[in-house]
């Protein structure tokens, strides 16, 4: 573990997620012990099926552990109620997905505003903030475009702004460059790094690409659902 348990933003102990399959169970992750501080840029590495996405889903409150302990931003996730998990997903984490996951019937600005509106924030205030972010990411000319009218890079930048709109403590990115060409992929990683430095947002990227390696403060290697290696990095 990198940080002491007392100051960790994310603390996992014996974290396990098993998926029942008939009479047996498939291991998603098993006995994960982890401590991540504020402001870290963490890269989760491993091949397909190593458990990166499962761990990310647990950290994002998208899934519940089978056993073990998971504390994120002071919240005990395995004991959280569905309502608490909803609030957690809105306010504490921002998710970025490999396939962007923009809603096809919403425009760029609507997609970006959605998490904030779900959190009950006033529409005008949210829209103004969204416009600032979109301008910062050079998407001002695409405000009323639908996802089908955007390029891959534009879609991912939109997804990033959506993840930021509620100013979460943690950004979780699942293979953010998986559907992008190398140029756009590099741009996305640089952007995430900038967010990490500028706003001290903890960024956790699950990837099997090496693009994020130079920017990581911590690399965690997973294999068959277990952490095999952890290494702090100098950035």
């Amino acid at each position: 573990m990198n940080a002491s348990s007392d100051h960790a933003l994310i603390l996992a102990q014996g974290l396990t997620r098993l998926y029942p399959l008939g009479s047996t169970a498939v291991v998603g992750v098993e006995d994960i012990d982890l401590a991540i501080s504020h402001g870290e840029m963490v890269v989760l590495k491993g091949n397909s099926g190593s458990g990166k996405s499962t761990l990310l889903a647990l950290l994002g409150g998208l899934d519940l552990p089978t056993r073990g302990r998971l504390m994120v931003a002071g919240q005990n996730l395995q004991k959280a109620t569905p309502k608490e998990l909803n609030a957690y997903r809105r306010k504490v984490v921002g998710m970025i997905f490999q396939s962007f996951n923009l809603l096809p019937t919403l425009t760029v600005v609507e997609n970006v505003c959605l998490p904030a509106l779900l959190a009950g924030r006033p529409h005008q205030e949210v829209t103004n903030r969204a416009l600032e972010w979109l301008d910062w990411l050079h998407l001002s000319s695409r405000l009323n475009h639908y996802p089908r009218q955007l390029s891959g890079g534009e879609m991912q930048r939109t997804a990033i702004v959506r993840a930021l709109i509620n100013e979460p403590s943690i950004i979780l990115a699942d293979e953010p460059t998986g559907n992008l060409d190398s140029k756009n992929g590099q741009a996305v990683i640089e952007l995430l790094s900038e967010l990490n430095h500028k706003f001290n947002t903890t960024v956790i990227i699950a990837t099997h690409s090496a693009l994020a390696d130079p920017y990581a403060t911590l690399q965690i290697y997973l294999k068959d659902g277990r952490i095999t290696e952890t290494g702090a990095c100098d950035v």
């Binding site: 990310l56 909803n86 997903r89 306010k91 996951n101 809603l103 019937t105 779900l118 959190a119 529409h123």
Partner: protein
Amino acid sequence: MRRVVFFLRFLKWFTARQMRMHPWRVLAVVLGIALGAAVFTSVRLAVYASLDSFTRTMDLLSGKADWTVMRPEGRVPEDLVARLRSHPAVETASPLISSYVSISEKDTQPFLLIGLDPVLDYPLREWQIDSASGDAAQIWLDLLRLPHTILMSRPLAQQHAIAAGDVISLEHVHQIARFRVLGVLEPEGLSLIEGGYVALADIATMQEFTGLQGWVDRIDLRLKPDATEQTVAELKDLLPRGIDLEAPTETKESGRTMIHAYQLNLSMLSFVSLFVGMFLVYSLVSLNAASRRRELAILRSLGASSELLFATVLSEGLMLGLLGWLLAIPIGSFLVKYLLEGVSSTITNLFVRVRVEKLHLDFWEILLSFGVTLLVSLVAAYRPAHEATHIAPREAMMMHESPAREKHPSRYLVFFGMALIFLAWPVAKLPSLPRFPLNGYFAVLILVVGFSSLSLPLLQWMGSRLPPLLRRIAGEPAFLAGRYVRDAGNRTAISVGALVTAMALFVALVIMVHSFRDTVSLWVNQTLAGDFFLRPKMAGLNQYHDPLPQKVIDGLKKIEGVDLMAYRHLELRYGKIPYQFEAVSFEPLLRYGKFLLLQGDMAKIKGSLIAGEGVLVSEVFANQTGLSAGERYRVRLGNVLLGMPVLGVFRDYRTRGGVVYVDLGAYQKGTGDQRWSGVRFFFKNRNQNLESATGRLRSEVLRCCGKDHPLEMASGLELRREILKIFDETFAVTTVLLLIALLVSGLGITTTLTVLVLERIQQLNTLFAVGAGSGQIRAMIFWEAVLMVITGEGIGLICGFLISHLLIYVINLQSFGWTFLYHVNWNALVMSLPLILATALLAALPAVRLVLHSSPALVLKEL
């Protein structure tokens, strides 16, 4: 408030835009709901219009009367008026005579002529003379003092281009007479009854015109405010035996009950289209929820609650229902005009006379239609909405759609379906309210749900067992179609369920209508035997109040070459149950005709019937009163109490209640009433040309008897044809309703196939990529449609047979009191099945076009 605003905004973004992107799909469902809602609403409005017209007529006719003095089978002596007026508790007593009459040489509908005493009647009923007619006071006086004068309602006068001062000839069986129209009535009060087609005369004029000097139809009473129950009892004691005192609402309530029952039956039938439309909503909403599962998971991952997802999916159903209801307004406005005439003439034929000239849009009926449509849509969308709440946020991270697991394995559905099917008959046999067979309808619903539940297991079974056979018959496309149908699960089963519903009800109705028609045809040819029928003009309308004049009877008796079957017809009540009493000459009737007996053996009872030692009662009478063969029938006719055993129960399908037959000779001997209400003629020589003989007989009757006394005459052939025509018209409405339901279910198949193709567009284009031809893809989709339709038709057919039993032996029995001989017209059924199959295959065409529309390379590039 902010949450509401957000939700509405979100619905616009997420649901409304999705609907705009797929307009045809949405239109198909909206049209289905619109048709269902339009049919439901317009049927109810049409019946309501008749109910309103009838109620208004009854209320206006009763006026402010508290009680009515009347004799069920005849008339009341006029001298009773003075005796009643002299009672201290009676404020006013007004005699009334009413009869339907027609204008000579004009081929228009008869109208009601009311004879009243303008002075005595003034406190009870309202009517005003139009100022354009002249000095109202003078006209009023002239009506009193001048014979053969009338006042006409405005619509009636306008219909015949009649003005004040004109002279017209009016026909009644007693005579044809000329009347001067003194003036036109203002459209208020009494002049509004019968749709506004009415005329008034002084009671003396009316008595003279109808030959009822010294008699009236009824005496309406208004009592003083301090009258008590004791007063009413005293008044009843004052009346001669056989004359009753009853509340004026009794006739009205009896009529309303009958119309309400008809409204319920027709509403249930019209609800079928809406019910089938419900499947459409379910189908589209659940298909949308399934195809947008990933988007719903994304929403969950962003923090949307499961309640929001539930509300969103439910709202989609609600929006479809709302749009459907709005579209139903123009469709319904068109339909209601067509239905109004059909429904009001059916009510007139079956129950009570109504004349509807204008449709009133009743707020509560509109609200009911709105509420039912939205409720149906909500119910339809509930399950997909509930299933959406189980979408895990984690699914947002999956690269491929995770198929929604079937919550209910087909084994469970088989048990559930079979349990409902077996439950249906016991539920149907539970006791129910008279004329309201709610348990029967509930049993139909149970059967439909039960059989529809078998759609999925049967599709899965077919998809498992049949593909190898299909491959041998029609090659690989058919094989693939079978496999897909097996795995498609609820997505296809819902549309098949809709088809099952529509098909089952269609089959049930075809069987019921043909069984009914065949039985009625048998009845008409056997029990309504007769070569020539004669009765006073408008006798039916006037409820046989006016018998044939003696001159006519004397003239008829002289006609040679015929056997006469005279009858005396009275409209009576058994307790509160109205029925028809007919004294007939049994000897010629049983010689030339036949009764379809349900109880009793004609060989054994014939002698007793002819001797006047017993009665025959109709099935309707027996079911409504509980009297059956062996029990005693009693009736008071004036001062005479007749009591005889019931010798048999027979099938009878005349309208307006049950029938009791007694021998005419026994009746005349017992009561002293020698009058005839009508006559049937039978030609003695059966070998002659009966049509020519009928023509000759008609001429002879006109010559001897018809000059001064308007008569209704019809050949037996004409009468039997007319009865079957009325029958066909009665069921035309119900047949149209069910054809609409079939159309709606066809729309469902179209929607389902189209959406399923869209969902599998990558799979289908992959088939192209691996070598499938467009003809093979087309064939595969057609085979899917064929399998779905065959499943729906097959299950629907079996279900339809069971429902037909419910319709005949439970619902008809409880609604109308009759049953009929079960008879399947295989021709009609067999002919309709390929038609439905062809329609369903046409429904597959849009889906097929969709597949071949996009380039496989482009579609597969997105993989």
